[in-house]
Amino acid sequence: MADVLREEREGVFRDGGERLSVVDVDVHEMLTSIRDLIPYLEEPWRSRIEVNDGFKGPPGNPYAFPQPTGVAIQDAVTDDGSPAGSKLEMVQEQVLDRYDIEPAILNSLFHPTDHQIQPEFATALASAYNDWIVENWLDREERLRSSITVAAQEPHDAAREIDRAGSDPRFVQVILPAVAHHVFGKPYYWPIFEAAERNDLVVAFHQSGGTRTAVGLPPYYIEWHTAISQNWQSQLISLVAHGVFDRFEELKVAMIESSWTWVPHLMWRFDYNYRSLRREVPWVKRLPSEYIRERVKFSTQPMEYPENPEDLYRMFEMIGSDDFLMFATDYPHWDFDSPKQALPHSFPRDLQRKILRENAREFYDF
């Protein structure tokens, strides 16, 4: 058990005398089907879903999950066959109440950015999804916050959607898919970062149906899942190299479900390359690692478990910032982490407390 979480009674943790609610930066809400969005769409888009045999949704993860309960942990499987994560009551019981989590950030797995065609339709889907989140999740549970879904292929429309949805303070970040086919650092996408900064929102990256590896879609899911941090790495490198952090000086970025033990390697290599190759990107004013340490946070999940837990703590120390990690469950997925178990004893007690709670509270201004 994480040393800092002392369970007093079911669902309430204390650190000494003080209640210690956990912040969870990655919970997934799901549509039961794309038809849930029909009430939130105007024509001409509504009927594209409403008709029989209409649009079924942006492309999802193409693998058949080999686990006994598919992509979900067993507890999260629903009775009526709807997707895990589609029932608020189960999220309340299995995440918020069970672990005294407040708040939890909902990260949509519905990414109109992956619908790389019919751009106006993709934009309308994003708006509808944000309205659906408000009515079906945020208005019904005050311990939830959410990400804003956008269709990033239309950055000016995405910026308008960020302004519109971002006026509701329960939206705390903009979510972009960690994809292999574009780098979001390119100036083409800057309206999104500009709007996020203007609305004091974090920009987060999370995997999607468009997430690939360096070899595309390898034959087995285990190959894909082991290699996908390449997508976050490429996106992070691009944000630095294209000068996004120089241009948007208040911008904050969250890497969600990317894993994090690769970060020391990336910072070392990137800094070294910067000294040799700075002339190519002279608008980048500082060592890449400095932007990463100061402006980027990572979710804990999926934690990695070396045989010696001290090794994991040494990896953390190499990053050089106690503020760097934020706890996440990734509920309802099979690689879920429990806040009671995720952090090994090698992590000092004060640090556990920061990771489970304080770092996210400060980053998102909760």
């Binding site: 100036p187 000294r275 040799s276 190759l277 700075r278 002279p282 608008w283």
Partner: protein
Amino acid sequence: MTSREAVRRAADSREARYVLCGLDEIPPGEVRGFRVGGRRIALSRLDDGTFRVVADTCPHQAAQLSLGSIERMWVSDTPGTHHQSENRNVLLCPWHGFEFDLETGGDPCVPGRPDLKLKTYRVEVEDGEVAVYL
């Protein structure tokens, strides 16, 4: 390259004065190496005709810096654009391309790292000769 040995001790200084070459022997934009007083130094002539001297051994992997090149440092405040600095000149290592500011000897990417800084030396043009004080 080694210097033409023309060593005179300045009577009122503990610095040793070494004449490296005649004023016109090094054209603007070039850098040349010398071994004087037991040290390897790199003499650069900037495009305004003035001279700078720094240590000639790269603190990274010990390449001879005088085999590299000098330029006005590439700078930019706008992503996607490049222009050359009005006043900063850098020496580029011939191996991995690290840059060294010819005024301070520091690497502009890591100005706070003393272990990655080159020693700089005073250089003067005197009577048509380029002299360094070590």
